[in-house]
């Protein structure tokens, strides 16, 4: 009995002096002027003429921070989230933001190197989410999969898995956005941050334009993953907030 009782964790971090509020990040995916969902059916056409269907489009957003009016940053603890653009209206809920007024938000695309090398993880980082390279350890930061009519191969499918945590091939990208007005986190309100994610910019009208038909398979960190990571950082735009 002694051993078993020692196993239970005790929550010791309840701080009753500070109240908390919830902030919702609404992740609105778009493809040029179309609303986007990886639904395996809808055809999306890139400016280069390539027509794509997506069976999967999901990625990690991590280490979310909010900048308070006094200039200090609050970092969400255990801040790892999978955004699945195969689902309708995906959101990230920051349920534990201290009450206060904030001017900026900062987050990473991908998973920091520490969690890539720290053994078995839980929650969004659980290997059962199928976002982990088992034979070459590391998280898959994004899975973009589907078919492209212009691919020469008969099955027309593309698979782009981007990741890489080692310094020389780090695909982690940090992004900071100013709200333009104060965001008020509080127990009796539900402010939201509306992000536009312009999926087309992963491939075209972006830092490193890429023809999908020329990069059919990507399964590992390296040069191509770095290019796509630069493009991905270009996808995110803060549109507006609600208080």
């Amino acid at each position: 009995m002694l051993v078993i009782s020692a196993c239970h964790k005790h929550d010791v971090d309840d701080d009753h002096n500070n109240t908390k509020g919830s902030v919702t990040l609404k992740m609105d995916h778009q493809f040029l002027t179309q609303s986007f969902r990886a639904d395996s059916v809808t055809i999306y056409t890139l400016p280069n003429g390539e027509s794509l269907k997506f069976t999967q489009f999901k990625y990690y957003i991590s280490n979310i921070q909010l900048k308070a009016k006094n200039g200090t940053w609050w970092a969400q603890p255990e801040s790892y989230h999978i955004v699945d653009a195969g689902k309708t209206a995906p959101v990230i809920v920051i349920s534990d933001a201290p009450t206060g007024e904030y001017t900026d938000i900062k987050f990473n695309f991908g998973v920091d190197s520490t969690r890539n090398v720290s053994g078995a993880q839980e929650g969004a980082l659980s290997p059962s989410n199928d976002m982990f390279w088992s034979w070459n350890s590391g998280y898959i930061f994004i899975k973009s999969e589907g078919s492209c009519e212009q691919i020469a191969d008969d099955n027309k499918t593309f698979i782009h898995h981007v990741g890489g945590f080692r310094p020389e091939n780090s695909a982690v990208r940090e992004m900071t956005f100013n709200f333009g007005q104060d965001l008020r986190a509080r127990p009796d309100g539900a402010p939201s941050v509306h992000m536009h994610i312009q999926v087309d910019k992963m491939y075209q009208n972006t830092v490193h334009p890429i023809n999908v038909k020329d990069m059919v398979r990507l399964h590992m960190p390296g040069e191509n993953a770095l290019k796509l990571a630069d493009n991905i950082a270009n996808m995110f735009v803060l549109d507006h907030i609600h208080n």
Binding site: A6, K9, S134, N136, M220
Partner: protein, 343 residues
């Protein structure tokens, strides 16, 4: 094998006692073993030392349980057999539905001293290591999400894990921690060679002693003491159709390079090489003898001046027999748990 059966029976009462009376378990359980002096720093420590015994016993049960494969036919132990130092005697092991794996099953021991796992070193943490064989379609063929479902519908595991974690459900991490708790304690540093080194035993014959001298000069720059590997990646001149380390680094110079395997328990882990294509140590040593006359591109520089006489080969083989550790292969704490299975 009278000695062997005596040894096993001597442990049995302790084993049963330990299972029921955990708090009183005695110091001969592997979790209580200290790192012998001269061994390298540990790369892995189980994160909950106070609970290690319980996680170990759960991990040990899971290691031998085919529940971790898609059709419940293959366990970790199917390809990592205790009497072969947790290796397999097939060149390529069979996974579910008789599918053949891509590489020869490596032996498992001293894993907590290794900075990387798998022959190409692609896996960098002991806890995440089992994800590869579990989810590989040629091995256990099941997704981590499916394993979760199976374990959570298994009353025995659910209650045992719940006792440890205080949670209602088993997570991937729980499974991986249990396997790491067990595998991190598969220690092998009790061979005849170790006893000779510490003065508890002497060489059985002059050939063994001379073989150690040959080893020190011609083998130990890669198979360095005390683990008999320096964990580097090297091309030993033996071509296999496998990119090796380059699969991890994508560097052309790493093609055909593989992690230097430990020579501990080498007499038990045949067949040899990444593809298991060399059936015995004679074939391996013949390969190394053959390097003397060849110009091989990218051959590891440490092998460039390799030459072995037939006499030296004989002595090396004698020496290598001293690296077999029966405290690994006959340790009842490492064997399939035989206490009654509770549903």
């Amino acid at each position: 094998m009278k000695f062997r059966s005596l040894l096993v029976w001597a442990f049995v009462p302790t084993l049963f006692f330990s299972c029921n009376q955990v708090e009183n378990s005695t110091g001969d359980h592997p979790i209580f073993e200290d790192t012998p002096s001269g061994f390298l720093e540990k790369q892995y420590e189980f994160p909950y030392p106070d609970q290690h015994y319980h996680w170990y016993e759960l991990g040990r049960k899971l290691f031998y349980d085919p529940v971790l494969s898609l059709d419940s036919t293959i366990s970790c132990a199917s390809c990592h057999k205790i009497d072969l130092a947790f290796s397999d005697d097939s060149d390529l092991s069979k996974g579910i539905q008789g599918k053949l794996g891509r590489r020869n099953s490596p032996p498992l021991f001293n894993l907590s001293y290794s900075p990387s796992y798998m022959r190409d070193g692609g896996i960098i943490h002991l806890e995440t290591m089992p994800i590869a064989p579990i989810s590989d379609s040629l091995e256990m063929g099941i997704t981590m999400a499916q394993v979760n479902l199976k374990l959570n519908s298994h009353a025995y595991y659910r209650s045992r894990f719940s006792e440890l974690t205080g949670k209602d459900t088993i997570t991937d991490r729980d499974l991986l921690l249990a396997l790491a708790a067990f595998q991190s304690k598969l220690n092998s540093f009790n061979s005849a060679f170790d006893s000779i080194q510490t003065g508890k035993q002497t060489w059985r014959n002059e050939s063994q002693r001379l073989g150690f001298e040959v080893f020190k000069i011609k083998c130990s720059s890669c198979h360095s003491l005390p683990l008999f590997t320096d964990h580097t990646f090297a091309f030993n001149g033996y071509f296999v159709s496998d990119q090796g380390r380059a699969l991890v680094t994508q560097k052309p110079e790493d093609i055909n390079r593989f992690k230097v395997p430990s020579l501990r328990n080498i007499s038990l882990s045949a067949p040899y090489m990444t593809d298991g294509s060399l059936g015995d140590l004679d074939a391996v040593l013949t390969h190394y003898q053959s390097l003397a006359n060849k110009e091989i591109v990218n051959l590891d520089p440490r092998l460039k001046s390799m030459s072995l006489s037939n006499e030296e080969v004989f002595q090396l083989k004698e020496f290598l027999t001293t690296l077999t550790d029966y405290r690994l292969t006959r340790n009842p704490y490492y064997s399939k748990p035989d206490y009654p299975f509770k549903k």
